[in-house]
Amino acid sequence: MSAETPVISLSDVEVHFETGSSLNPLADNDVVRAADGIDLDIFENDVVAIVGESGSGKTTLGKTAVGLQQPTGGSVQYRGQDIWDAQKLFSKPDIPFSEIRRSLQIIHQDPESSLNPHKSVRSSLEQPLKKWHTDLGPEDREARILAMLDRVGMSPPHDYAQRYPHQLSGGETQRVALIRALLMNPDLILADEAVSALDVSLRVEMMDLMLELQDSFDTSFLFISHDLSNARYVAEHAGGRLGVMYLGELVEIGPAEEVLQNPQHPYTKVLTWATPSLEITAATEPPVREIDIPDPVNPPSGCRFHTRCPNATTYCQQRTPPLFLDEATSHQTACYRVDEDSEYWTHEPLEGATRDR
């Protein structure tokens, strides 16, 4: 895995948004730190699922990875070519930007608003083919669209091709969006909460379809979700990785099964508690010291989770933990608790927290 060049490589990426609300031009604007110090490589045929709460920066990370959001620091490379350098005038990139753009596709959260309501399914799907496959004639385009519709289980395809978005169900609209992305023959598809808006009974079906197409089209997927069980379903099925984000930082990442069976970061454990299961358990108190996520404008010092963490000590207030790598399992965790020799163990727990192992 390490020998090949990743399709997408993020190194030390940071995305900060300035919230310019003040009328005073001399005032310091607040800065929202949506992503900070993110390193992530996505390889060919790779599936990476990212989970996090709203405001954790997971969408920003996804958009940065597919070149829709320019990072304010660090670099994003597509097969070794910096995406944002490729767009500069006279830069003579090794890989032209138009090819990078085609190779990185996105499926949005809200299927209804991602299709033009005035266009039939056929004309929505024709657009990308017309632009990128100029060698195809009208019959070839038609044949390809119908074959894809049939492939995703929308039959009879002739009937579906004529429909408008309002005549499709949520699941069908999302499938059209998926086809539209796949027609580009992309290397990486960002699926941002792509199944969250669907009914529970349809989610598994949609995820199965994505996995099947991922496999047969040799595409990589970056799957973003707030729901650990959906992320697990996709990542574990594809043998991929699962990453956890908190307030703009990647706090834990590793093979999906390893992260779920053996979560190391206290935040990942909290997410596991919050993930619905069909067990009957008595309602227990949330295992966090604060229910509300802090404001990303002013993230807490040190480890950003220390304000809510059930295991935080004064050390966590002062120092930001790096990602510790467990080489045997390639499991990375940004928490001092995984380090036996850390000074963490000699510091006093914060109020309400315990240092127990």
Partner: protein, 350 residues
């Protein structure tokens, strides 16, 4: 059609103390292409101090049931049937017969509701505290003690009362607004709290946290709660009983444990199997084939038969009524005795 013993089912015989009795409740909309029945002859008893979860997919009629409980179905919808409310002291009230003024007082003082999309329920130009004041004044309650109660409720919900009451809605996060809204719904000390997808727009962690807090609120304030959701795993953490709605009727009603461990309706079993679950073996999660029926064209007979692996010609001719499986468990299926032919893939450990 319904004998009185049939109606009592789903209730432990020892403590039949329903606070709300819903009988033959139908909500219909007249449309150009026919009559759309979004609730079709629903019967349900809601017991005092219980938390009942109503589970259904989108378009199963679950939100209509919530609106009908407050006689708040939007025009031109027509609500028929009876909903009898038994206050702790005093005479029974038929909610659907109340005059406009009586209804205005009844809502919020006896039954209050937290709506779906609650994040837009606050007026953006008013501070949260003003919402509480306005509610107290509109119902003629003393504002001083009322605001003390508001502060206590906010504190119970892990919110800082002073900060929240003086904030404007945009200054609070989604989870804080949602909790403030639950406090607002409880400020007049109602008997029943109806919640329609109260946590759907929130993060899982916040959802789970709110559910834990709701259980505490029920015990502290002797509330009866109706929790309407599409999220079966979430409601199992909270509800004493669960009713499963399919195509505008109850498919099955029973104790939470029964619904999870011995579901008797093929739809409930399929729904459990389709639920993403961290513990379930991956290969065994299955989608439900087919799609839910259109409210204008509900199939003859059993509405689930087109998707049901157990369906026989009988199901086509005769609409199954809710049959009694045990004292506390009712199911609307001709073949519930054979339901185990659909294996449950979710191992539910207690």
């Amino acid at each position: 059609m319904n004998t009185s013993s049939d109606l009592q089912a789903g209730t432990p015989r020892t403590a039949p103390d329903p606070i709300l009795r819903i009988r033959d409740l139908t909500v219909r909309f007249e449309m150009d292409r026919g009559t759309s029945r979004v609730l079709d002859g629903v019967n349900l008893d809601i017991h005092r101090n219980e938390i009942i979860g109503i589970v259904g997919e989108s378009g199963s009629g679950k939100s209509m049931l919530a609106s009908a409980l407050l006689d708040a179905v939007v025009k031109p919808g027509v609500t028929e049937g009876t909903i009898t409310y038994s206050p702790p002291d005093g005479d029974d009230i038929d909610i659907l017969d109340l005059s406009a003024e009586d209804l205005r007082q009844f809502r919020w003082e006896e039954i209050s509701m937290v709506f779906q999309g609650a994040l837009s329920s606050f007026n953006p130009t008013m501070a949260i505290g003003e919402h509480f004041q306005e509610t107290l004044e509109a119902h003629g309650y003393p504002v001083g003690p009322g605001m003390d109660r508001a502060a206590e409720l906010l504190d119970d919900l892990y919110l800082d009362p002073d900060r929240v009451l003086s904030s404007y809605p945009h200054e609070l996060s989604g989870g804080m607004k949602q909790r403030a809204l639950i406090a607002l719904a409880l400020v007049l000390d109602p008997e029943v709290l109806v919640m329609d997808e109260p946590t759907a727009a929130l993060d899982l962690l916040m959802q789970r946290s709110i559910v834990s807090l709701l259980a505490e609120l029920r015990d502290k304030h002797d509330l009866t709660m109706v929790f309407i959701t599409h999220d079966l795993p979430l409601v199992t953490k909270l509800a004493d009983r669960i009713g499963v709605l399919y195509a505008f009727e109850f498919a099955e009603i029973g104790k939470t444990e029964t619904i999870l461990k011995e579901p008797a309706h093929p739809y409930t079993r399929a729904l459990l199997n389709a639920t993403p679950n961290l513990d379930a073996p991956l290969e065994e999660m299955r989608p439900i084939a087919g799609s839910a029926p259109d409210p204008v064209n509900v199939p003859e007979g059993c509405s689930y038969r087109t998707r049901c692996p157990l369906a026989t010609p009988d199901c086509e001719h005769e609409d199954p009524l809710l049959e009694q499986v045990t004292d506390t468990h009712r199911v609307a299926c001709h073949h519930w005795r054979d339901a185990e032919e659909i294996p449950l893939t979710t191992e539910v450990d207690k």
